[in-house]
Subunit: 354 residues, 4 copies
Amino acid sequence: MEKMRANVFRGKNDIRVEEVERPRAGVGEAVIRVTLTTICGTDLHILRGEYPVRPGLVIGHEPVGVIEELGPGVTGYSVGERVLVGAITPCGQCRACLSGHLSQCGHGEGYEATGGWRFGNTIDGAQAEYLRVPYAQANLARIPDELTDEQVELLADIASTGFSGAESAGVKIGDTVVVYAQGTIGLCATAGAKLMGAGLVVGVDGDSNRLSVARRMGADVVLDYRECDPVAEVLKLTGGGADVAIEALGAQETFENSLRSLRPGGTLSSLGVYSGKLQIPYDAFAAGLGDHRIVTTLCPGGKERMRRLMEVVRRGRVDLTPLITHTFSLEEIGKGYEVFGGRTEGVLKVAVKP
Amino acid sequence: MEKMRANVFRGKNDIRVEEVERPRAGVGEAVIRVTLTTICGTDLHILRGEYPVRPGLVIGHEPVGVIEELGPGVTGYSVGERVLVGAITPCGQCRACLSGHLSQCGHGEGYEATGGWRFGNTIDGAQAEYLRVPYAQANLARIPDELTDEQVELLADIASTGFSGAESAGVKIGDTVVVYAQGTIGLCATAGAKLMGAGLVVGVDGDSNRLSVARRMGADVVLDYRECDPVAEVLKLTGGGADVAIEALGAQETFENSLRSLRPGGTLSSLGVYSGKLQIPYDAFAAGLGDHRIVTTLCPGGKERMRRLMEVVRRGRVDLTPLITHTFSLEEIGKGYEVFGGRTEGVLKVAVKP
Amino acid sequence: MEKMRANVFRGKNDIRVEEVERPRAGVGEAVIRVTLTTICGTDLHILRGEYPVRPGLVIGHEPVGVIEELGPGVTGYSVGERVLVGAITPCGQCRACLSGHLSQCGHGEGYEATGGWRFGNTIDGAQAEYLRVPYAQANLARIPDELTDEQVELLADIASTGFSGAESAGVKIGDTVVVYAQGTIGLCATAGAKLMGAGLVVGVDGDSNRLSVARRMGADVVLDYRECDPVAEVLKLTGGGADVAIEALGAQETFENSLRSLRPGGTLSSLGVYSGKLQIPYDAFAAGLGDHRIVTTLCPGGKERMRRLMEVVRRGRVDLTPLITHTFSLEEIGKGYEVFGGRTEGVLKVAVKP
Amino acid sequence: MEKMRANVFRGKNDIRVEEVERPRAGVGEAVIRVTLTTICGTDLHILRGEYPVRPGLVIGHEPVGVIEELGPGVTGYSVGERVLVGAITPCGQCRACLSGHLSQCGHGEGYEATGGWRFGNTIDGAQAEYLRVPYAQANLARIPDELTDEQVELLADIASTGFSGAESAGVKIGDTVVVYAQGTIGLCATAGAKLMGAGLVVGVDGDSNRLSVARRMGADVVLDYRECDPVAEVLKLTGGGADVAIEALGAQETFENSLRSLRPGGTLSSLGVYSGKLQIPYDAFAAGLGDHRIVTTLCPGGKERMRRLMEVVRRGRVDLTPLITHTFSLEEIGKGYEVFGGRTEGVLKVAVKP
């Protein structure tokens, strides 16, 4: 039985690069040789025991690689092709998928609690030399020759999610958009709002480095919440409230600030993952009086989504490579977790080369 | 100076039918002789001092009447025509209106806190013999001859709001919809969901009479929360969650039940007016993981909205008259407030004939 | 090798019920024993040589049946379950399907000329004792016990297409809708418009029987084009033009009448299949001046679509059984083609029982 | 009675700069002193007698100016403010406007044949020293101080129309868009597609100069139809068809090419004004089989639209000044018509300074 190296979750605060069994492709599946992947904030939650996965699981969910093996029933692909696979792997054939809710894929008649997120969650993930891809027919997106792994890497999750923050809100030409928190998802939401034709994009954070990257990603105005009341500033800049506020942190304060930053009839697009109860203050929400909408979005997946996002990068509409600030080998992935978890060295996103 | 009889708010728990000055039509305005109006739940909030308006104000905001006078600049109408006027009176010419957010009309460049709700709120209302209508060109909707006052009365507010609960949620053919609370707005939301082609409409309440009216308005299944766990029932009936949940009460419990009744990717349409903080439980919301949407809607207005709703009634799609359970003369309106406020005698909606 | 009886296209004007090989289920496929199917207008085009298919093909594409065999990789189903299968069988995993265009399924990276229509077109069809279903995971829709085969039969194609005429047009509460031609698709479009909350539904045809069925399916007003100018009548009834016109025949005259019946900004929903060139008269189209939309729709498919439509029937929103005017056994299917092709005996839709 | 200079249509091929009566503001109206305007292609049609207007009419419909006078009922503005007024002047209060179809404003209950286009069509236009603006409350859009007249001039019509070509088509992130004809409207459609996040924008024309400006406005690829078959090229570049094709000329050939360039389910956005009959070839349209949409758009208007477009310019998303290739004084406007009509000197758009 062939072996490979992989980053395995062994328990709280215990992940190890180990020798594990190399996966084989079953019916409808593929195996890819991973050429680039990343560490995601969710992986930190797993490491810290805040998000439960089973011990022994290979983690990671942002894979770029080369097709190594194709299982029975997968057609139209060849071994050796470079592919991007989304963090979410929809089957395309269940009730959720056929309704267009690919990220809520339940494969079967009903819905699963975790939607279509499987890599490094319910099945082995991408921080490994090889990765088994379920529903391969729906999830292998060929990478155009002119694009590097680094250029497409973040499209698997962070950028797909960030852009969808703007898409789910329905950003229109001339809209004013404020994005609360400029971590990598927030930075991609900022880029997404500009990409869709927003007239004014405001980025809010309390970290000077991130605010300066925010400008580079498309923010017209940046607000440092250590120096001003961002809600008051947004109301002033927009003449009464933003059309869209995007929450990209997952905290009560940013959620509430987002809501208070909206004009009547405005949309709060919530990308953050909250813990505990979230309060909607009546005076801000004024449910039924303010005509507000709150939309939430889980990272959309599927090869067509990946193809579209690669097109945007290929045409130079957006460049995500500045967000990859560090790269480690798979063997040194532990150092990557340290830097990423410690938020030191101006780290934004850590890439991993198996 | 001519006088008229009107129901005037004098202070907390103090409203009186009095002789007041009869209004005249200014530029762009009209005066109608009110032939039918109602008492709304909001009027009770005003009476009880829970919603502040200035003493001396004539209250009421659901007017049916006959054009008595047309101010300069109002064209295409004649004195004597029967008209329905929405509770919300958009100007059609401000930023909100020109964006399609008629109910958030701010008339001017910015937005007003109260949106376009003026009658019995910021200007004299409909519980009177005569009513001055601002922006008359945008708000006088002719009543087809074959429709009675009673048939169109509730379209001004309750039914427009209730239907919009289903419309804002984007109910589609075959959707499953649950409506929490079967007061008059909830009953109209129930009717609206059926009107749009929902496959299964579930009405929830704890009042047998209302549940029986719910069936008549279109609910396929009714659930009495005194006898079952409505969330568990909805999850069972829908095989995993409703496509749409409509909240029509304005309470933490119904809001939370609505959220918990949704399938992943489902929509909560919130019509209730909440007091205090509203909590979104993380496990139900799972913001960013559940792809949920929360939409809120203030009663849409304008003559075109009124015209469309009258068409639906005219063609027999829906009959709202069963919701008017009591009618009082203007002089006896105090009794109407008693019955309505006390929720006695199986009261649903109280009409008033000036 | 097992055999079965099937209706086989042998050449122009030559179809025969013959003994053919009984199909077996391959990977991802299922075989159903057909319990009810129909003859469709497209089958007549095939018979007459107007739509080319290969000789030897079993025709028919509206199948109701019982699962007989499940191929490898199909999960969650059992032999013996009653299922409805749409006329279009999307794979769910190609570019078109993952974009939500299930009816344009190309299975593979590109698009196929025929979209996802395969039964009786590119693979053997439903006028047979057994039917092989491709992409079974995406296409087997369980039939609720309380529904008969006859009640769901037309949902596979005719009703799904007819309803989608209203859905693609985005019919809203209070819209005025005119449907040109009241054949079975037009009748279902009429039912669909009412189902979505149209305020006024006008059905146009030149056959008294069909106009009387149109009333039964939801038309508020019917117009016989032999007795009036339907465009002039529609303009009068709607006060300047319908919000939506649905073309359900596929002819220059009905297309043009549909366009001329619209208000500025109205939508023409075209369901007919035209032959030859179609002319858009400039004075009616006024492209760029009239803000019109023209939408076309191929029958949507997939098990979720079928499930939703069955829900609507189950709840009594619509009853399609009056459209099945004749039923023949498979052996007597030739008589069915005669009656259906001859438009005699008040025929609307012919069902076939294998 | 005060006089002013204005460009007056006297008859076919006869326009003259003359002394005419200076307009005054009636109820709900304003008068602006025009500081910049343009000659539009439609003005050429008028001059050549191809579009009928009454002799004696001042023509022109793209006005930038300074408020000179405000009529009764116009509030929130001051004399001396710089404003942009759209070519279309919606009232905001009729059926069309209240339905969100501002460009089809009929002011009154029904619809007018010309929609909301009044300047230089049914009332005196902008090629004059002063201009009377109807429904001023809905149509005066303040110009931010930092923007010049030249920067906002084209937003009144050409750019609003061009962008709306992309907006009406619903361009999404990663879409492929082809724009047929790169006149000023096509160039703005090209810019609009890029502004909304299209992945690949293809510009087609037969004029090298325009193709080079197309690149500057956002086209990733330009195709010269004198050197290639643009449809074949588009099918190749997009792997089977564009998501969106925008027609910006108004000719049978470009319309047909647009249709043939689409993928199944794609959208044709038609901006051109056609003369004579337009043919939809069956093999391209395949109505009912191709799931295509055809949308048409008349220039959207109203002050909120103007405000949004000015925001986009203010934030540097798009620069339209390269499209103004010539400027003439009002007295020399005849020369402007010559250059513009003759398509000499690389002319794109001619500005006029009264």
